[in-house]
Amino acid sequence: MKKSIHVTLKVWRQASGGDKGRFETYPLKDISTDMSFLEMLDVLNEALTHSGKEPIAFDHDCREGICGMCGAVVNGRPHGPEKGTTLCQLHMRHFSDGDVLVIEPWRSRAFPVIKDLVVDRGALDQIIIAGGYISVNTGSAPEANSIPVPQGAADKAMDAAACIGCGACVAACPNGSAMLFAAAKVSHLALLPQGRPEAARRAIRMVEKMDGLGFGNCSNITECEAECPKEISIAHIARLNREFFRAQLASDEK
C-alpha cells in the first residue's frame, strides 16, 4: 500500500450563521496514509495559518471516537465512508491517490451552522433534559446487587447506551429526524428495571420535545443506522415506538 497520497479537498467555508457560505478547493500533497482524517485537516490548517488565511473551524476533542464532538459529511456520508467509524477514527489509508473529498457540516434544520464545519447540536441536550434520566437523588440508592438485571437485558441496554450523541443520525436522515438518538436513550433506560417506573413519562416527554425542536419525522428510511458510528440498531426505534404507544394507550401520562 502507498505510504502517502495526494488528495484534493473541497471544503465548506462559512464565516458565521448569517454568511451564505461556499466551497473552497485545497490541493494537499504527500498525506501519510497513517494519518487520521482530522490530522489531515490539521496539516491543512497549519498551512493556511502560515499563508495568512483563516484555518477551517471544525469540532473535535477526544480523537478516539468516544466524545461525539467531531463530525462532518465526507462525499455525502456523515463521518465518511467507513462503517462504524467517527471522523477522528477515519484514517487516510481508506482513500486513494488523486481522490477528491467534499467536506460539509451536518446539514439539518435543527443544527444551525456556527462556522465552517461547526454546527450547534444543543437540541440533542434539550431532548435529554426533557426526560433522558432516572430520577434518583444522590444518596438514596439501594445496594447495587439488590437489583439483578438479566445479562441479556444489560447487554442490550449497553448496546443502546453506546450512543455518543454526535448527531450523524440526524445528518444522515432525509427528514432530519432524531429518532435514533432519542430511541437509544429511551431504549437503554426502558430495558433496565431501574428505568421502568418512569418509562411511560420518559417516552412521551422526549418524543414531544423532539417534535418541538424542528427535527423531522421518522419514515423508516434507516440511513441513521447505516451511518451511526456506534452502529446503534433501529430495533431501538421500534422499542421507542412500543414504549410511546403503550404510554399513550395504557398509562396515566399524557
Binding site: A15, S16, S32, D34, M35, S36, E39, D42, L48, T49, H50, G52, K53, E54, P55, D59, D61, C62, R63, E64, I66, C67, G68, M69, G84, Q89, H91, R93, I114, V118, D120, R121, G122, D125, I128, I129, G131, G132, Y133, I134, V136, T138, G139, S140, A141, P142, A144, N145, P148, V149, P150, Q151, A157, M158, A161, A162, I164, G165, H188, Q194
Partner: protein, 637 residues
C-alpha cells in the same frame, strides 16, 4: 502560609463520620440563598452539579465543549474500583485503602485515601440506580475484573466504555436538575480568570467561545473540576481541549499548586507513528488481565512476532514480578517497557514499542470470550494501526495519561484560597505519586457526589459572605487583564504557529521531565522552556480576531499558560531529590532499578505559592503522617 490539611482526629475508620457530624449544616430553606459556580462537567463537575442542585443550591455550570456530555472522563475505558468484595476474595475498605496508598508510593494522605475507599461502594450503588449498564454475570448480578496494583478483582466495568457510561449517568442526573431549574448550563465557555474578593473566591471570568464576549459570573463559592494538565506534553492520551488554564489562573490568584511533577505515564498506548500526530490513544489497562507483555530475547531481532519461538521471547514483567506479573502498577510497567527499548529490544518500525499478546488467552478461552471482553478496544486498535490484534500481537508503548499533581486542597477539598474548591484530577489529593488503574473514576465521583455536598455546606454555614455582584471592581480588573492577554496574543503576528510551539514544548518535557529524569536534564529543560516562552511572545502567529469563533486563539491562550506551567513542573521535579511513583530521578534507584524514596527528607506534599511574574515560587511543605501503615519499599515481586 501555614498548610492545614484539617484531617479530623480519631481512628482512621471514624474520621469521615466524625467530620460530617462536626460540619455545620445549611438548613434546606437557606440553601437556595447560595450560588455555586462549577467549572467543568466531567465526572467530578457533573456529579457535583447534580448533587449540589439536588440539595437546593443554585448552580451555574460551565464547560468548554458544546455539550457537557463530552468532557474527557468519557474516554476512560477500563473501569471503576470499589471495595464491595462481591468476588469473595477477601477485599475490604482497608485493602482498597492500603493498595491505593502503596500504589501511590506513600505520597498521599491516609485520611483522604481511607475516605475514598469508604465511599467507593456507595458510588456503585448510585450509578446502578441511575441506569449505568455495568457488565453482569448470568445470574444478573454485577461482574468484576482485575486491574494493576491489586490482587483482587474489584473493578466494575461497562464493556470498554466505563467512563462514558458513568459520565452519561452524571450528565443525565445534572440534566434532570437543569429541567428542575436548579442548574444553569453554560456550554462553550472557557474560564479565563478567578475573581478573589477579600481573600475569598467569589466568581470567574469566562470567554464565550462562540462570540469572544468576556462574561463575569459571581457566586458564594467556586468549584473547579477542570481536569489534569497532561497536554503540557503535547502528545498525550488527553482530549485536545484538556488544559491547565483554569487551574493555573487560580494558582496565579493565590491557590497553591501541589506536586506538579507527579505525572502518570500509562504503559499501554498505541505507539507514536509520525510527526503530524496530534494525540496518543490509550489501550485500556484491563487488557493486561489477558494480554502478555513481551519483547524478543535478542536485541535487534527484526523477525515478525509470529516467527519468534517461545524460547526466544522474554515475558519480562512475568519474569521480574512473578506475583503481580502483567498487572504491576502503571509506573513500574512503563519504566520496564522503556528499559527494554533502551536496551535495543523494542519492536516495530521505530523500536519504541513492546508486544501485548493475546495468543494464549485466545487459545485458552476462545476468540468469542476475548471479543466480548475487549471487542471495542481491539476494533479501535485495528482502525488506528491497520493491524488485526486477534492475529498479530498489539504493539504498545507508554504515553502521558494522567496527572496526580494539582491544586492543593484540604480534607474539605478547599484550596488555600477560601471558597475555591477543587475536585477530581484538578486537585492533588488521593493518588500520591502514582494512580492505580480504575481509581480516577472513583475519585471524581467520590468528590462530586459524596464529599463536596457536605463540605461546601460547612463552609457556607461557618463563613460570613457579603453580597457581591459583577459590578465589584475586582471583576472589572479580572476582565481587563484577561482581555489584555488576548489582545497581546493577537498582536504578535509572528511566523510560527501555536501548534508548532506546543509540539516543541512537549518534546522538551517528554525528554527531560518524562518517564525518567535527572538533575542535569531538568536544569537544561528550565532554560529551554524560558527561551521557548520568550520566542512564543515575540513570534507566535494567531490568525483571526477575538470577536468570532476562533479555535487558534483558544489554543494560543492554553499554550501560553502551558509554557509558564511547564517551568513549575521542572522546578518541582528538581526540588524532589528522590524517586517515587511516576517521578523517577535516575540518581535515586535501587540496585534492580526501582524507584528509591527518601522518606527522611521528602515524605511531604510540595505546595508551590506564586510570587509574581519572573519570580521563583515559594515552596510550602505539608508533612505526610502515617499512623496506620508502615512505610516500605514497594514490592510487586
Amino acid at each position: 502560609m501555614e498548610l492545614n490539611a484539617k484531617i479530623p482526629e480519631g481512628p482512621l475508620p471514624e474520621k469521615w463520620d466524625r467530620h460530617r457530624f462536626e460540619l455545620k449544616l445549611v438548613s434546606p430553606a437557606n440553601k437556595r440563598k447560595f450560588d455555586i459556580i462549577v467549572v467543568g462537567t466531567g465526572l467530578a463537575g457533573g456529579s457535583a452539579s447534580a448533587a449540589l442542585a439536588e440539595l437546593g443550591y443554585n448552580v451555574k455550570t460551565f464547560c468548554i465543549q458544546d455539550s457537557p456530555r463530552r468532557a474527557h472522563s468519557i474516554a476512560a475505558q477500563g473501569g471503576i474500583n470499589a471495595a464491595k468484595n462481591y468476588t469473595n476474595e477477601g477485599d475490604s475498605i482497608w485493602r482498597l485503602f492500603y493498595d491505593t496508598i502503596k500504589g501511590g508510593d506513600f505520597r498521599s494522605r491516609e485520611g483522604n485515601v481511607y475516605r475514598l475507599a469508604q465511599i467507593s461502594n456507595a458510588i456503585i450503588d448510585q450509578c446502578v440506580a441511575q441506569g449505568v449498564p455495568f457488565a453482569r454475570e448470568y445470574g444478573g448480578l454485577l461482574a468484576n475484573r482485575s486491574f494493576g496494583g491489586a490482587q483482587v478483582s474489584r473493578t466494575f466495568y461497562a464493556r470498554g466504555q466505563t467512563g462514558q457510561q458513568l459520565l452519561l449517568g452524571a450528565y443525565s442526573a445534572m440534566m434532570r436538575q437543569v429541567a428542575a431549574g436548579r442548574v444553569r448550563l453554560f456550554p462553550r465557555r472557557e474560564m479565563l480568570d478567578l475573581v478573589v474578593i477579600d481573600g475569598r473566591a467569589r466568581g470567574i471570568v469566562t470567554r464565550n467561545l462562540l462570540t469572544g464576549a468576556m462574561e463575569t459570573h459571581s457566586a458564594h463559592a467556586v468549584v473547579l473540576a477542570t481536569g489534569g494538565y497532561g497536554n503540557v506534553y503535547f502528545l498525550s492520551t488527553n482530549a485536545m481541549s484538556s488544559n491547565v488554564t483554569a487551574a493555573y489562573r487560580c494558582y496565579k490568584r493565590g491557590a497553591c499548586f501541589a506536586n506538579p511533577c507527579f505525572t502518570q505515564i500509562h504503559p499501554t498506548c498505541i505507539p507514536v507513528h509520525g510527526t503530524y500526530q496530534s494525540k496518543l490513544t490509550l489501550m485500556s489497562e484491563s487488557l493486561r488481565n489477558d494480554g502478555r507483555v513481551w519483547v524478543p530475547v535478542k536485541a535487534g531481532d527484526k523477525r515478525r512476532p509470529e516467527e519468534i519461538p517461545e524460547a526466544e521471547r522474554d515475558y519480562y514483567l512475568e519474569r521480574r514480578y512473578p506475583s503481580f506479573g502483567n498487572l504491576v502498577p502503571r509506573d513500574v510497567a512503563s519504566r520496564a517497557a522503556k528499559a527494554q527499548c533502551d536496551a535495543g529490544k523494542g519492536v516495530g518500525e521505530t523500536g519504541l514499542a513492546v508486544y501485548l499478546d493475546f495468543r494464549d488467552a485466545i487459545r485458552r478461552d476462545g476468540r468469542a470470550v476475548i471479543e466480548k471482553k475487549y471487542g471495542n478496544l481491539f476494533q479501535m486498535y485495528e482502525k488506528i494501526t491497520g493491524e488485526d490484534p486477534y492475529k498479530t500481537p498489539m504493539m504498545i508503548y507508554p504515553a502521558v495519561h494522567y496527572t496526580m499533581g494539582g491544586l492543593w486542597v484540604d480534607y474539605n477539598l478547599m484550596s488555600t484560597l477560601d471558597g475555591l474548591f477543587v475536585l477530581g484530577e484538578a486537585n492533588f489529593s488521593d493518588h500520591g505519586a502514582n494512580r492505580l488503574g480504575a481509581s480516577a473514576l472513583m475519585q471524581g465521583l467520590a468528590d462530586g457526589y459524596f464529599i463536596i455536598p457536605y463540605t461546601i455546606g460547612g463552609y457556607f454555614a461557618g463563613t460570613p459572605l457579603e453580597t457581591v455582584d459583577g459590578t465589584h471592581p475586582a471583576f472589572g480588573e479580572a476582565i481587563e487583564s484577561s482581555r489584555k492577554r488576548i489582545d497581546t496574543l493577537l498582536a504578535v503576528d509572528g511566523r510560527r504557529t501555536v501548534d508548532d510551539f506546543h509540539r516543541e514544548l512537549g518534546r522538551i518535557m517528554w525528554d527531560y521531565c518524562g518517564m525518567s529524569r535527572n538533575n542535569e536534564g531538568l536544569e537544561k529543560a528550565k532554560g529551554m522552556i524560558r527561551a521557548l516562552r520568550a520566542e512564543f511572545r515575540e513570534n507566535v502567529r494567531v490568525p483571526g480576531e477575538n470577536e468570532t469563533f476562533n479555535q487558534s486563539l483558544e489554543r494560543a491562550g492554553r499554550v501560553a499558560d502551558f509554557l509558564e506551567f511547564a517551568e513549575l513542573m521542572v522546578t518541582d521535579a528538581l526540588a524532589r531529590q528522590e524517586s517515587c511513583g511516576g517521578h523517577f530521578n535516575e540518581a535515586y534507584q535501587t540496585p534492580d532499578h526501582e524507584a528509591l524514596r527518601d522518606d527522611a527528607h521528602f515524605c511531604h506534599v510540595a505546595a508551590w505559592e506564586y510570587q509574581g511574574e519572573d519570580r521563583e515560587p515559594v515552596l510550602h511543605k505539608e508533612p505526610l503522617v502515617f499512623e496506620n501503615v508502615t512505610l516500605a519499599q514497594r514490592s510487586y515481586k
